[in-house]
């Protein structure tokens, strides 16, 4: 039988008790968000000139940079979140069930982060609704609109999924949940009927299936198509982008889920709820995915290097020996070292949650840098070599705004955990 036992007591702990850690981290996150808000205000009043972005070509800069990388990063994390949660449901992996809702929440909040980043990157955020107004004119052609469509569909489906699978637990715990949030609980359990559980499970199974299919389409299709369909930029164009991005998305997402779950285990002492076996499974998954990702990097560079003096080779050269090697080689080293660590851990059958958490955090950050190394090089080294090689350094505005979006995601996560049960309660408890 499965080793997972979720008691109401344990689950209610973060809801009923407010720890010092919660208050301190909430204050820190709020402060970071305030700094980000100030930075965004600066950007709104002075224009995107306050960022490190500039026109490419004679402008000598790059028009897409840290914001777009952050967007791609968020969407990647979002995918794996739901991939994990939906697989748990579809394949009935009971042992992993305590992770399901955590992963779902990570998905929804990362998607929110992605949407915020896109708005921040826009020069005219006041016109963002033009996406909707001219939708039918542009849906046939613009990869950005495909993206907008699928991200929105994804958001709606995963929100429904989260809401539906949570109703039963809220009903069960209703009497013990704090009365100040009663209105919220009433809202999420609106129209609850005795014995709806079976039907909800059925719907959730189909929703999970469609989310997994959509995930492959979105992360292996629509997001990489933003880049892969652009022959103008050497280094982007090509069919490899689909599986390459999908692997990157899943890797960073598994890392994200490990981070969230490991922190929860440490803070709430949930060692008996999320077993070590689960973390071992996740770290094995992380190992395999990182290896596949490295294999894609190899593919990319060997293709560019073998071809001879082309625009693709100039970019590969820049990454391997040129101006970008100071960023690329450390990224490569971290990926390889992570693989070595995870492999040793798996083979030796020894396991350290702290070390795995550290590796996951490092990988999450590394994948952000790797996303920047997808967006940046092609724009720095124009195919039309009549233009000079560009340069780009993100400014404090970009860093603080991006940090603020991450803080927002983290704080929203914490607040959700303070109001709603983050794990499913097992039947009969």
């Amino acid at each position: 039988m499965s080793s997972y036992k979720v008691t109401a007591e344990k689950i209610l702990q973060p809801i009923l008790h407010t720890s010092k850690i919660f208050l301190v981290s909430a204050a820190v996150l709020l402060a970071l968000m305030a700094v980000g808000a100030y930075a965004y205000l600066t950007q709104l009043t002075q224009g995107l000139i306050v960022t490190g972005l500039r026109d490419w070509g004679m402008g000598g800069g790059i028009p897409w940079g840290a914001y777009i990388s952050t967007f791609v990063w968020y969407v990647g994390i979002a995918h794996g979140g739901i991939a994990i949660s939906a697989s748990i449901r579809i394949m009935k992996l009971d042992e992993y069930k305590p992770l399901a809702r955590m992963a779902e929440l990570l998905t929804i909040l990362s998607l929110t982060g992605a949407l915020i980043t896109i708005i921040v990157d826009s020069g005219r955020p006041d016109r963002i609704f033009n996406f909707v107004v001219y939708y039918l004119e542009t849906v046939g052609d613009s990869p950005l609109i495909w993206d907008f469509t699928v991200v929105l569909a994804y958001f709606v489906l995963s929100a429904i999924y989260l809401g539906m699978t949570m109703r039963e637990d809220v009903i069960k715990l209703m009497s013990r949940l704090p009365s100040k949030y009663k209105l919220l609980y009433r809202t999420v359990t609106f129209g609850h009927k005795e014995g709806e559980k079976e039907k909800v499970e059925q719907i959730a199974w189909w929703l999970a299936l469609s989310l997994v299919i959509l995930m492959a389409l979105l992360s292996g299709g629509v997001i990489p198509w933003i880049f892969g369909l652009m022959p103008s930029q050497a280094g982007w164009f090509g069919a490899v982008q689909g599986p390459y991005f999908l692997t990157g998305a899943l890797t960073s997402a598994v890392a994200g889920v490990i981070v969230v779950a490991a922190i929860a285990v440490k803070v709430f002492h949930w060692e008996d709820l999320i077993s070590e076996k689960v973390f071992k499974g996740l770290s094995k998954m992380l190992l395999i995915l990182t290896v596949i990702y490295l294999w894609f990097i190899l593919n990319e560079h060997i293709t560019a290097q073998y071809a001879g003096p082309t625009a693709e080779k100039a970019i590969s050269d820049a990454l391997l020996y040129g101006s970008l090697s100071t960023i690329f080689l450390p990224v490569l080293a971290i990926l390889i070292l992570s693989v070595i660590f995870l492999a040793i851990q798996t083979l030796r059958k020894a396991f350290s949650l702290k070390a795995t958490l550290a590796v996951s955090i490092i990988l999450l950050l590394t994948f952000w840098v790797k996303r920047l190394l997808i967006v940046m090089p092609s724009l720095l080294y124009p195919r039309l070599t009549l233009y000079p090689v560009g340069s780009y350094t993100p400014t404090w505005v970009e860093y603080t705004i991006i940090t603020a979006t991450v803080s927002f995601v983290a704080l929203a996560y914490m607040i959700f955990m303070k109001i709603f049960p983050i794990m499913e309660i097992k039947e009969g408890e």
Partner: protein
């Protein structure tokens, strides 16, 4: 009568949605095919060009004679004056190829026949007109800069800051009156806008009002720049293209640019390997 069941309702909505998207995708693929048909119009002497000669819709094209250009940058200045472009923005610019049999390469917007920038625009602010102009609707652009990223020629410029505060000559911002093209869209003049993309318009405000050529062509002291109608076999551009060898920049990308370079070979585009 039984009410529509939820299942049937969902089916209906899904079918209509899928239908709309299928039609849109289909039509965009079709327009891709029409694009290749348009190319044959460009090739002088082709059957299509002959039959459509004298048709009411002109096919504008721009010819640069790199063998004649002396690099005086008068075109760059005339463009800035005509369009009042902000500091750091050069709709017309002069490039300096190092690996070519000439020194200067004037670079307006290519006004491609298969423009990557119009395809990617999420709000159709960037669009192509039948006569060949690729234009930007300044009132619709959301400033995502996808057009800039998709264009291989680097002709797009973003207003990173308030253009009025940084104007080189204080009076030149908005010196050109707001101009709405024949479709009623603001595509030239009326000042410049923070957070919005802009690029060369081939001076549509001049052409539509009957002036024969853009400001850059008019000012060129050595007649290296030409502008005209490819549908008219007697026009200057048709004559030059039919009698001379020409190249177009990055032709292999399939963008079908409408700027033709004569008087030299294409510049070599190999970036020196970094070591």
């Amino acid at each position: 009568m039984s009410p529509v069941s939820r299942r049937n309702f969902i089916r209906y909505v899904a079918a209509v949605g899928a239908g709309v998207i299928a039609v849109k995708l289909g039509s965009s693929l079709m327009s891709g095919m029409r694009g290749s048909e348009r190319d044959s119009l460009l090739k002088p002497g082709s059957a299509m060009a002959a039959t459509s000669a004298g048709s009411p819709t002109p096919k504008y094209a721009y010819v640069v004679d790199v063998g004649t250009c002396i690099g005086c940058r008068k075109c760059v200045g005339a463009c800035k004056e005509e369009n009042g472009t902000p500091e750091g923005i050069f709709w017309m610019d002069l490039l300096y190829p190092t690996d070519a049999d000439y020194k200067y390469l004037p670079r307006p917007c290519m006004h491609c026949d298969n423009p990557p920038c119009t395809k990617v625009c999420p709000v159709n602010a960037r669009y192509k007109r039948r006569e060949g102009f690729v234009l930007t609707d300044f009132k619709r652009c959301i400033g995502c800069r996808y057009c800039q990223v998709a264009c291989p020629y680097g002709v797009n410029y973003f207003n990173w800051k308030n253009p009025r505060s940084s104007q080189a000559g204080s009076s030149s911002s908005g010196s050109l009156a707001e101009y709405r093209d024949l479709d009623g869209r603001l595509t030239a003049g009326g000042g410049h806008f923070t957070g919005v993309i802009e690029k060369c318009t081939w001076c549509i405000h001049r052409i539509e009002k009957g002036k024969p050529v853009p400001a850059c062509v008019e000012i060129c002291p050595v007649k290296a720049l030409h502008f005209g109608d490819l549908n008219d076999p007697n026009s200057e551009v048709s004559q030059i293209i039919s009698k001379n060898k020409y190249f177009r920049l990055l032709e292999e990308l399939g963008t079908e640019p409408r700027v033709f370079y004569t008087g030299g070979y294409p510049p070599k585009l190999n970036r020196k390997t970094e070591k």
